[in-house]
C-alpha cells in the first residue's frame, strides 16, 4: 500500500513568541494511505482543521514534517501542491459562473481549452450539476453549492482531496444523502480523501480509517469498528457514540474476565483485556445498544439484573432509558417502541436488565 501523506511529529504553534502562544498541534504523527477515505475526527479546537490547513499549505508547521507521496512539501506554496480543498463554506468565486468556478484550477494549470471544457462537463456530470453550469453561485442552494465546490476541487484530479467539514452547513436529510455520495465518489475516483469532521456518525459512516483527535493530539487511529468497539481511552469512548462508564476496582480476574466492584457492592464482570491486577482502579464501558431491557416476569434464560426506569427520552425510532440499577449505579439503555407505537416501559417501571460480560470492556488507563 502506498503512503499518500506521512505526517511526522508535526507541531503547530500559533503566535509563537507572543505572550499568548497557542499550541494547536502537539507532535502529531500519522500516515494516510493512497486511495483511502481518511477522517480526522474531534471536537472543535482539537487541531483537525489546522492539520488540514498544514497539508494544504495555508499554514506553516512549527516543527516536524509533512511528506506527500514521499516528497517534503514544506517549502511549496499552496498553489504548488497537488492537493485541492473543499472548504467548509465552499468559498466559491461569486463573480464567476459554476462552470468558470470549476474551470478555475484547470486554467491555472494551463490545460488546453478543449480539454478544460471536457473536464468541466465530466465533473459537473459526476456531481449532477451539469444543467446549472452557467448560473452564478448565488443562485444555488446550499446543497448545490456544496456539489460545485466538490466539482471544482475534483476537476484538476488532485492526488489528495482535503474536505473541511463540507457537510456541516447542510440540513440533516441532505447531509445523509451526501455522505453516501461522497463515499461513492471516493471509490469511483480513487483519490485519497482527507475528511475533517466533528460529527462521529459521519466519520463512522464514510471512513476507511479515522484519527480521533483532541487537544492537538491524536488519541486513536483505526477503522470505524475499532474506534467504536475498542476505544483506547475514555475520551474516545465518550466522543464516539453514547456510552455508559462505570468506575470501580478490580476484585478478581481470570484469563477471560475481570470482576469489578462498582459502587459499594455491585459486581460487574468484563472482558479481560490483559494486564490487570486485583486492586486496580478501572473504568468499564458499556454501549447502550448492548443492553436488553425486559419486564421482570418475562426475563429470558440469560442472567439479568433488576432495575427501574428513572427517566426516558423519546427519539421516534427508539427511546433512551435511564435505568436505576441501585447502589448508585445508573445505565443508559435503548428500547424500540412496540408495534402499536407505544413505549414498552414507563418511568418507575421495574425492569430486567440484561447484558453480556463480553459487551463490558475495561478502558485502558
Amino acid at each position: 500500500m502506498t503512503t499518500a501523506i506521512d505526517i511526522r511529529g508535526v507541531t503547530k504553534i500559533y503566535n509563537p513568541g507572543s505572550n499568548q502562544p497557542v499550541k494547536a498541534l502537539d507532535n502529531v504523527s500519522l500516515t494516510i494511505n493512497d486511495n483511502e477515505f481518511f477522517t480526522l475526527l474531534g471536537p472543535s479546537g482539537c487541531g483537525k482543521t489546522t492539520l488540514l490547513r498544514l497539508i494544504a499549505g495555508f499554514e506553516q508547521v512549527s516543527g516536524g514534517e509533512i511528506m506527500l507521496f514521499g516528497e517534503e512539501i514544506e517549502n511549496l506554496e499552496p498553489s504548488q501542491r497537488p492537493v485541492n480543498t473543499v472548504f467548509q463554506h465552499y468559498a466559491l468565486f461569486p463573480h464567476m459562473t459554476v462552470a468558470a468556478n470549476v474551470a478555475f484550477g484547470l486554467e491555472r494549470l494551463r490545460q488546453p481549452k478543449t480539454e478544460i471544457e471536457a473536464t468541466v462537463e465530466r465533473v459537473l456530470t459526476l456531481v449532477k450539476m451539469k444543467h446549472l453550469g452557467d448560473r452564478p453561485p448565488s443562485q444555488l442552494s446550499g446543497g448545490q453549492q456544496q456539489r460545485v465546490a466538490l466539482a471544482r476541487a475534483l476537476a484538476p484530479s488532485p492526488k489528495v482531496l482535503l474536505l473541511d467539514e463540507p457537510l456541516s452547513a447542510l440540513d440533516l436529510k441532505l447531509r445523509q444523502a451526501m455522505r453516501e455520495e461522497l463515499k461513492q465518489l471516493q471509490k469511483e475516483t480513487g483519490i485519497t480523501f482527507v475528511f475533517v469532521t466533528h460529527d462521529q456518525e459521519e466519520a463512522l459512516a464514510m471512513s476507511d480509517r479515522i484519527a480521533v483527535m483532541s487537544d492537538g493530539e491524536v488519541q486513536q487511529i483505526g477503522g470505524p469498528t475499532d474506534i467504536y468497539e475498542h476505544p483506547v481511552n475514555r475520551f474516545v469512548a465518550d466522543f464516539i457514540g453514547d456510552t455508559n462508564f462505570l468506575d470501580g476496582e478490580i476484585v478478581d480476574f481470570n484469563d477471560d474476565l475481570v470482576t469489578c466492584r462498582i459502587g459499594s457492592s455491585s459486581m460487574f464482570e468484563a472482558e479481560n483485556s490483559g494486564g490487570h491486577k486485583v486492586g486496580d482502579q478501572v473504568t468499564l464501558f458499556l454501549r447502550p445498544e448492548k443492553i436488553s431491557l425486559s419486564a421482570p416476569d418475562a426475563a429470558s434464560g440469560s442472567a439479568t439484573r433488576p432495575g427501574k426506569v428513572a427517566n426516558l427520552v423519546y427519539l421516534g425510532n427508539q427511546a433512551a432509558y435511564t435505568v436505576d440499577m441501585g447502589d448508585g449505579v445508573t445505565l443508559t439503555a435503548q428500547a424500540r417502541p412496540r408495534e402499536d407505537g407505544n413505549l414498552p416501559f414507563a418511568i418507575g417501571d421495574p425492569l430486567a436488565v440484561g447484558f453480556s460480560s463480553r459487551a463490558l470492556r475495561v478502558l485502558p488507563q
Partner: protein, 300 residues
C-alpha cells in the same frame, strides 16, 4: 389630532421626506437650474449676466470670431478640455496605482488597527488644500527639497525644472485626491472574503493570478467608485493647476474659475460647467449600469 396634517399613508410618507426634498431642491436643483439658465444668457462686462437669450457661450466653446467677424473653428478650449481629461486620467491612474496597495495593506492589518490607519489616511483633509499644495512648490521647486541635496551631491548640475509642468500638476492632483481612492477601495476590500484567496491559491493560482482573477474583480465596485471620486474633482480642480502648473497651462477647473472671477464671462463659465456636469453624469450612468449588471450576476 390636528387635521391639517396629511392623514393618508402616502401623505405621511411625503411629510417625512419633505426635509430632504427641501434640501436637495434648494442646494442642488435650484443652483443647477440657475447655472443652466445663465449659460444661455449674455455676459454683463461688469459681472453677472444680461437677461438676453444667447447661444454665444456654447458657440465660444468651439468657435471664435476673426477680425472680419466670421466664425472660425477655435481648438483652444477643446484643447484645454482634452488636456484636462488627459491630466485627470493620469492622476486617477496614479491614485489607483498608489491607492490600491495602501487600501490592501490596511485591510490586512488586525481589525483594531485598521481604523487607526484609515484615520491617518484622512488626516490631510484637516488642513487647507491651498496650503498643502504650496508645500509641493517647496518640494518640487527650484532649490527645493528634492533638488538641493541632489545638487549638493553632484548628481545633477542644473535645476530639474519640475515645477510648472504637466507632471507637477499630476503629482499635485494625485496627492490631493489619493484618500478619495483609498477609502472606497478599502470599503470593498474589507468586505472581501479572504477565504476566496485561499481557495484560489489552492486551485493553483500564483500570487499575481490571485490578484487579477479574484481580488481585483471582486473589489471592482470600489475601484470604479474610487476612480470616479478622483477623476471628477480632478477635472474641476484649479488649485493644483494654478499653483503647480503656473497658470500657463489651464485646466477646465481653472478655466471656469477664471471666467467667473477675472474674465467676467459668467455664461461661458456656466457653459463650461454644464459640459463638466454632462461628463460626470455620463460616467455615473456608466457606473450605475456596471453596478446593476454585477448585482444581477451575484444576485444581491
Amino acid at each position: 389630532m390636528s387635521n391639517w396634517l396629511p392623514q393618508s399613508a402616502a401623505g405621511k410618507r411625503w411629510l417625512g421626506l419633505a426635509p430632504s426634498y427641501f434640501v436637495i431642491g434648494i442646494f442642488m436643483l435650484v443652483p443647477m437650474i440657475i447655472m443652466a439658465v445663465f449659460s444661455f444668457l449674455e455676459p454683463n462686462p461688469y459681472g453677472g449676466v444680461k437677461p438676453v437669450g444667447s447661444l454665444a457661450a456654447y458657440v465660444k466653446l468651439f468657435f471664435e470670431y476673426d477680425l472680419e467677424d466670421n466664425l472660425v473653428f477655435n481648438p483652444g478650449y477643446i484643447n484645454i478640455i482634452f488636456r484636462s481629461f488627459q491630466l485627470s486620467f493620469g492622476a486617477t491612474l496614479l491614485c489607483l496605482v498608489f491607492g490600491f496597495p495602501v487600501a490592501y495593506y490596511i485591510t490586512l492589518q488586525p481589525e483594531n488597527r485598521r481604523n487607526f490607519y484609515i484615520y491617518l489616511v484622512t488626516i490631510p483633509f484637516w488642513t487647507n488644500l491651498l496650503i498643502r499644495t504650496f508645500a509641493w512648490i517647496i518640494i518640487l521647486g527650484r532649490g527645493g527639497v528634492i533638488e538641493t541635496p541632489l545638487l549638493a551631491a553632484g548628481i545633477i548640475d542644473d535645476s530639474l525644472r519640475m515645477m510648472y509642468t504637466d507632471g507637477a500638476i499630476a503629482i499635485g492632483l494625485t496627492y490631493s485626491y489619493l484618500p478619495l481612492m483609498v477609502l472606497p477601495i478599502y470599503a470593498s476590500l474589507e468586505k472581501l472574503d479572504f477565504r476566496l484567496l485561499e481557495a484560489a491559491s489552492d486551485l493553483y493560482a500564483n500570487r499575481l493570478e490571485v490578484m487579477t482573477k479574484v481580488v481585483i474583480p471582486l473589489c471592482k465596485p470600489g475601484i470604479i467608485a474610487g476612480c470616479i471620486l478622483v477623476f471628477i474633482p480632478c477635472l474641476g480642480a484649479f488649485i493644483a493647476p494654478n499653483l503647480l502648473g503656473g497658470g500657463k497651462k489651464l485646466m477646465l477647473g481653472s478655466l471656469v474659475q477664471f471666467q467667473f472671477a477675472s474674465a467676467r464671462n459668467w455664461p461661458f463659465g456656466a457653459a463650461l460647467s454644464m459640459l463638466l456636469l454632462s461628463a460626470v453624469v455620463i460616467m455615473l450612468i456608466f457606473y450605475a449600469r456596471a453596478a446593476k449588471k454585477r448585482a444581477a450576476m451575484e444576485g444581491d
